[in-house]
Amino acid sequence: MVNQTAPAAGAADEVIIRMEGVHKWYGQFHVLKDINLTVRKGERIVVCGPSGSGKSTLIRCINRLEEHQRGRIFVHEVELTSDLKHIEHIRSEVGMVFQQFNLFPHLTVLENLTLAPIWVRKMPRAEAEKLARQYLERVRIPEQADKYPGQLSGGQQQRVAIARSLCMNPMAMLFDEPTSALDPEMIKEVLDVMIELARSGMTMLVVTHEMGFARTVANRVIFMDQGEIIEEAEPETFFNNPKSDRTKLFLSQILHH
């Protein structure tokens, strides 16, 4: 029942992420089983599935926050091996947004945004600050630049986290349940920013339970269970005409509560 990658955008498009037969174990526990996935430039892919299905682990393998033990992962044709130079290069090219925001609490919002451009990209401070203010504008919180993360609401913090990744001008963005730690009234402000980002053509791989978001912006939805990709389809097909029973069960649980 494992689908092969179905190109949603034109096949000629640049491949950004390619996973070939990736396996991962936590001790004895087989958390990722034979993952094959290709993400092309501009694609928006939503990964969903029950908790413990390996979806977070999957995207965390892409920037090597988790190490895979079998198979190969390429990001923009650079293979992820234990070579630190490659890992650091890939991390600087792929943004990641975490469930718990993980802003740096000892730095102001502006300093959070300029840290990596200055220290990884060697950008002059003034230029980095200009860039940071542009992105704060884009996530609609330009007025919070000089505050500390602890003074912001959860929704604002997550938008700062998105802007922080964007400041590195990434070729793809990974989102690890970006709205799961938010109060309900703040989810929308974060999703709006993500939708806008998707419209701007950013390549996105999003682990989320927000099925509305998947319907609106995804061009592919991936359903995972017990470490496997069970189903992979366009949102239209995925929601209206799921093939596997496990997908049907999951959708009925998540959509009718």
Binding site: N63, L65, L84, E88, H89, R91, S92, E93, V94, G95, M96, F98, Q100, N102, L103, F104, P105, H106, L115, A116, W119, V120, Y148, P149, G150, Q151, Q157, A161, R164, S165, M168
Partner: protein
Amino acid sequence: MSVATASERSGAGRSPDLPPPATTTGAIGWLRENLFSSPLNTALTLAALYLIYLVVPPVVDWALLSANFQSGTSNKDCVGDGACWTMIRARFGQFIYFRYPVEERWRVDATFLLLFGAIVWLLIERTPGKLHMALFLFVVFPPLAVWLLFGGLGLATVETALWGGLMLTLVLGTVGIVFSLPIGIVLALGRRSDMPAVRLLSMVFIEFVRAVPLITVLFMASVMLPLFLPEGMSFDKLLRAMIGIAFFGAAYMAEVVRGGLQAMGRGQYEAAMALGLNYWKMTALVILPQALRIVIPGIVNTFIGLFKDTSLVLIIGLFDLLNVSLLATRDADWAGLGSEAYAFVALVFFAFCFSMSRYSLYLERKLPSGRRK
């Protein structure tokens, strides 16, 4: 909404805001709440007052009211039962500089003026040019201080055997503090390293040094080390004591810093890594600034302990402030004035340690790490 707003409560015609009863606010309220809230509390308060009455007036009388402040040359110049501060006055130069030649003492003054000036400059928030001052303190100042204190290049050489008193205590304390923190940080990082050899070395060093009393370290540095060195090769006793103290302090500091590193969540590491920062940038820019702030009380605690422990160098024959005061009590001219000498030493130590402690409290309040989500 069941909670009434303030404007609703003070609405005209209805219950106006009344001041609280006089017995619950102000001095009376404070006394009632803090000193006389229960029979037991009242009894404790009275007992404490009685103790204060027993101790404080005689001490004030001895140290201030009946004390001798006039100058003199021996204990015969002191009159009455009060303290004889005359002795401190007469031997003040020795307490501060020990045998450092009188005509060269300006060099000690200059060194410590520069040191305290630079430190105060760095510690006060609103002074400009902090980076230049830090560069001066950590790059220019150390060789400058060695030149000023020791001599050479145009200045008369003053052997370290002549150093002593408060000056020696400060030299040992400053060197210990300045070196123990960076070495301690390196050891703490080493102990958490992924590289087994680095981890093992750091751990062995920390555990070994912590398991040994400072006196033993000093003994080893001053007595045993020369035995292992080839004949004719020796280095300064003071230098050996400094190295001993710095590494001893570093082992304790390493454990304090490790506590701070331990308290950091995985998320901070992951966020820093995900942005492409390498290990050293992540450690220097994201992890250490937060980890060190968490353990400021522990760091300052170690500093204070280290500063006071410098007095143990008397065991290897160095004349720090405490040892100089012991010398004073053995002087026939000033026989029987031990209390004055020790009180003076205690006061000097207190002044330094208390300032460090207050500054650490101020730092904790000031730094934004207090604002957690």
